[in-house]
Amino acid sequence: MVGRDLGLDLASKRTTTPGAVVLDAQGITAPRVNNVSVQVRAGEIVGLGGLVGAGRSELVRAIIGADDRTAGSVTLTHNGKTVTVSSYQSAVRNGVAYVPEERRMDGLALSMSVEDNIRLPNRKELSVAGFKIGSKVAQVAQLLADKVGLRPPEIRRDVGEYSGGNQQKVVLAKWLGRRPEFIVLDEPTRGVDVGAKAEIHRLVKEIADQGTAVLIVSSDLPELLELSDTIHVMRDGHVTGTLSKEEASEKSVMSLASGEAIVRSS
């Protein structure tokens, strides 16, 4: 596989000084998720490892309310104020951003322009009394497109005309405008070329360095190891183990993900 060496090459040392707990999810239960608790601190990148079908996407969707959960509580703390996340809309209102796994299905309106896609989650800030401020929309969209390195940075073009990597940058751009307190990234570089992948990694680190709590799901092991400060490994809807940056390796993650270690010890 490509990626490992490249990942090491591009790995920049992050000086992790995690702050206070921003996201506190307790006892999350949903279809394919069984009583999982996750905490993410300000400036921290928490990774969710495991095999496809382990329930990671279901877990993050249940946490932010994109899907219903049958049990569990989720709170967001920001500037000493704690709010309970009850619905996806309330999550977004309170500073949650979500980069979904299926970017063409859930992340973007492909036949709309880059500008319109960026406008969607930021529409209230870019309007007065419900009326759009055209100049402000264009200005903010251009700023964000430049920031994520969209190429070519033409905000009037349909998102569907861009390559996968550039499309994913648009998904990031639309949420960066909100300065999120907590961002969920589900397979952020699936189907993305290596150049764009490195840029997305750089952006994710930058987001965390600015104090955002980051929760990332990735089946790309080198990526997960490179980005995460802590890794929870899931299997069959449970967290089977938590690894610190020092403990985490392809081997330790895979043994927890496949249940190999459990078999060996018994």
Partner: protein, 337 residues
């Protein structure tokens, strides 16, 4: 590995994607689905001016707009439901009739102000039932609005007994129905004002943006943090308000109202919307396109009438036009992919 080489790579891919477009029959058909209405309307009007006796009179042209106004007003409103990707609102048939009957019957007994408020309540009720069933429970819009047409007409016939209501011969409703500014009838002005207002709503507001976005991708719109149920209810509300105004205008024409006043309005409004180039798949279209579609269909009908072609053939022509336009729309969608 530098970012510079990565950027070159990406640019090449993008050019590759753009250059892939080739011009074949399908592309031409797709183009005419989107923009054909501009060309065809112009051609139709030129042909009518040259070859149809009696078309080019001021009386005839204002009469075309006068007759087109009620269906046109329904169509510009229903454009919102179509762009939101929910196909159409069949219950405009019942909504137009309900508004007309309430306007005449209630203003006879309680005055026109109470009548307008009552009609507005009925419109909101229609929008809520349609919008909640489709937007919250995700029921199919065609079936839901087919059912609410039935309910609406049933209620209307129960209260009206199927009889015709006559307004007072010298009332404000009658005055509005025959009123003109210069040569332009009030009805045409209402159609124009509704078109402008709804166009602003669709193009300049967050609500209009969400209607369009929802029509393109429902899931991405929801995950963008918007309340999709409200978007759908809103689309049906715009349609219901427009249908109410159309019902008023129609009742004012003859100063009468009856429960089958709106028959055929569902299809004729949809015809104007589709001919205008608004996609039945949602996301693409505009209110002005619908106005153009209204003009096209009305001029076509007018030409057929002036040429002495019978009503049966007119229906065949309109039906064939829609099959053609919807097929073009579907081809256009395939090409875009």
């Amino acid at each position: 590995m530098t970012t510079k080489s990565a950027s070159a790579e990406i640019t090449t891919t993008d050019i590759g994607v753009t250059a892939k477009r080739r011009l074949g029959v399908a592309e031409i058909l797709a183009w005419s689905s989107r923009n054909g209405v501009f060309v065809f309307t112009a051609l139709l009007i030129i042909a009518a001016l040259l070859f149809v006796d009696g078309f080019a009179s001021l009386y005839n042209v204002t009469d075309v707009f006068h007759r087109a106004a009620p269906v046109g007003i329904v169509a510009v409103g229903m454009t919102f439901v179509v762009i939101s990707g929910n196909y159409l609102d069949l219950s405009v048939v019942a909504q137009v009739a309900t508004a007309g009957v309430i306007l005449i019957a209630v203003s006879n007994t309680h005055g026109i102000f109470i009548a307008i408020v009552a009609a507005l309540m009925a419109a909101i009720l229609f929008a809520l039932v349609n919008g909640i069933a489709v937007g919250v429970f995700k029921a199919n819009a065609v079936i839901v609005t087919l059912a609410t047409t039935f309910i609406g007409l049933g209620v209307l016939r129960y209260f009206s007994g199927g009889s015709i209501f006559f307004g007072p011969p010298d009332g404000i409703i009658k005055a509005f129905g025959v009123g003109k500014v210069g040569p332009i009838p009030y009805s045409a002005i209402v159609l124009l004002v509704m078109t402008i207002l709804l166009s602003i709503l669709l193009n300049r507001t967050n609500f209009g943006f969400l209607i369009r976005s929802f029509g393109v991708n429902e899931s991405a719109t929801r995950l963008g943090g918007s309340n999709t149920a409200l978007i759908v209810i809103g689309a049906f509300l715009v349609t219901a308000i427009a249908a109410m105004v159309a019902g008023f205008v129609l009742a004012a024409f003859s100063n009468t109202a009856v429960s089958n006043d709106g028959v055929g309005y569902d299809f004729r409004a949809l015809a104007a919307i589709i001919v205008g180039g608004t996609s039945v798949f949602g996301g693409r279209g505009s209110v002005f396109r619908t106005l153009l579609g209204v003009i096209f269909v009305s001029v076509l009908t007018n030409i057929l009438v002036l040429s002495g072609i019978s009503f049966g053939y007119q229906q065949i022509a309109l039906g064939a036009l829609i099959v053609f336009a919807v097929s073009l729309d579907a081809i256009g969608r395939k090409v875009a992919r």
